[in-house]
């Protein structure tokens, strides 16, 4: 937000700093979810053993958020409320079908990422509401997950990023796939058609190629200074393959760098 003020792209009359509101910085596991208070700093998530254990996808993604100096100040609630379609945390939340807890003076409301993210930098958040908590579904130990991103420079906004979580059946075919992509549409997008395509099938190069082709059909990237629409489309396909491969190897019990 401060860059927008410094560049005078936004000149609000009042700013309410919620940085000192007590009790909004926490990370704990609660049944099916890892619940994180809106004022929890990125750096706290990065260092959290609980996050690493319960939601390794989030641990992997958080390192792509800006630089250390940014992560020391930036909060998870801020990243979500900002609604940047190329940001990492919205992409992870979308892949996991997580929840956003909004609060106003009358109480709380729980919304899905799909309901919350409307378009570039615009969310359903009302002026009298604040993001209170983010709930990231816990990833089962047997699942494999991966977060991959391409940025011009580490810490810059991602050109394309993909978050993937896969489960394998005893026969080795996909019993569940969660996949989301950021940076190519006006909001982070769950790739449901690709998930359906993969479901029940055995992971192999041919299948990944199909998933990649379908992804390239589904995304609607735009051109800007950092890359053309064609490049981003191509990259989307490549990144889906990379994320799926990495996640699959991890689900098979392998280690990838």
């Amino acid at each position: 937000m401060i860059p927008l003020l410094n560049m005078r792209l936004s000149t609000p009359k009042y700013i309410i700093d919620i940085g000192r509101v007590g009790g909004l910085s926490y990370i704990h596991a609660d049944g099916e979810s890892l619940v994180i208070g809106a004022l929890t700093k990125h750096r706290d998530i990065e260092k959290s053993k609980l996050v690493k254990e319960k939601c390794p996808l989030l641990s992997e993604a958080i390192r792509w958020v800006g630089h250390e100096q940014i992560r020391n100040r930036g909060t998870v609630g801020g990243s979500i409320a900002h609604g940047d379609p190329s940001a990492e945390l919205p992409c992870v939340l979308t892949a996991l079908r997580g929840e956003i807890v909004l609060a106003d003076e009358n109480g709380e409301e729980i919304v899905s990422p799909e309901e919350f993210f409307l378009t570039y930098m615009l969310t359903s958040l009302q002026p009298d509401q604040l993001v209170k908590e983010i709930r990231f579904p816990i990833i089962k130990p047997a699942s494999g997950s991966a977060f991959v991103e391409v940025a011009r420079r580490h810490g810059d906004f991602g050109l394309v990023e993909v978050a993937a979580v896969v489960d394998l059946s005893e026969e080795g075919s996909f019993s569940e796939v969660k996949l989301a992509i950021g940076g190519v549409n006006s909001i982070p997008t769950a790739l449901e058609d690709v998930e359906r395509l993969l479901f029940g099938k055995e992971p192999n190069e041919e299948l990944f190629k199909k998933a990649s082709d379908l992804t390239m059909e589904l995304v609607e990237p735009e051109s800007d200074l950092h890359g053309t629409a064609e490049y981003r489309r191509e990259l989307s396909g490549t990144m889906v393959i990379r994320a799926l491969k990495k996640a699959t190897i991890r689900a098979q019990g392998g280690r990838v760098m």
């Binding site: 401060i2 003020l5 800006g66 250390e68 100096q69 940014i70 100040r73 810490g155």
Partner: protein, 158 residues
């Protein structure tokens, strides 16, 4: 513009001032406290020249309002020098390795690296590169900065 009273500790000294709510912490440090070692290169969190410590963590002072630092402990590049006026090990290492040319980005690097070295006493080159990835330098090409960080880490471990 209504003033807001803030109390904070800067380089060990208690400070109490009334500031505009919209004043950036970087401008507060430079214009109100006259600590001009903290430099401003981009004002949107990209270049790292304004890096300072707030409660021990390196942060961009151009992305914080002064009022947000109320009650905090702030350290700037001016805090690094030893009491007798000698350079500390990190400053000395930068000088020894020609890790600066124009010197404008240097305070930001020094503040980023000094907190990094507190947590990583024996970093490898990859870790050093990652540590400084949020700071831009246009003169040196970074190689000598990496050398300097290595030297500083060794000085501490010896």
């Amino acid at each position: 513009m209504d003033g807001v009273k803030i109390n904070l500790k800067v380089n060990g000294q208690d400070i109490s001032r009334e500031v505009d709510a919209r004043l950036l912490l970087s401008d507060f440090i430079r214009e109100n406290l006259l600590l001009t070692g903290t430099h401003i290169g981009c004002e949107h969190g990209v270049c790292g020249a304004c890096t300072i410590h707030v409660n021990g963590d390196p942060v961009r002072s151009c992305l914080m309002l002064a009022v947000q630092a109320d009650g905090c402990e702030v350290k700037t590049v001016e805090s690094l020098i030893q009491e007798n006026g000698d350079l500390n090990h990190l400053q000395q290492a930068f000088s020894d390795n020609h890790a600066l040319q124009c010197g404008f980005c240097t305070p930001g690097f020094l503040m980023t690296v000094s907190s990094f070295l507190e947590e990583n006493s024996n970093p490898c080159e990859a870790e050093i590169r990652k540590c400084i990835s949020g700071n831009l330098c246009r003169c040196t090409g970074y190689s000598n900065i990496i050398k300097a960080v290595k030297q500083a880490a060794q000085t501490v471990s010896n």
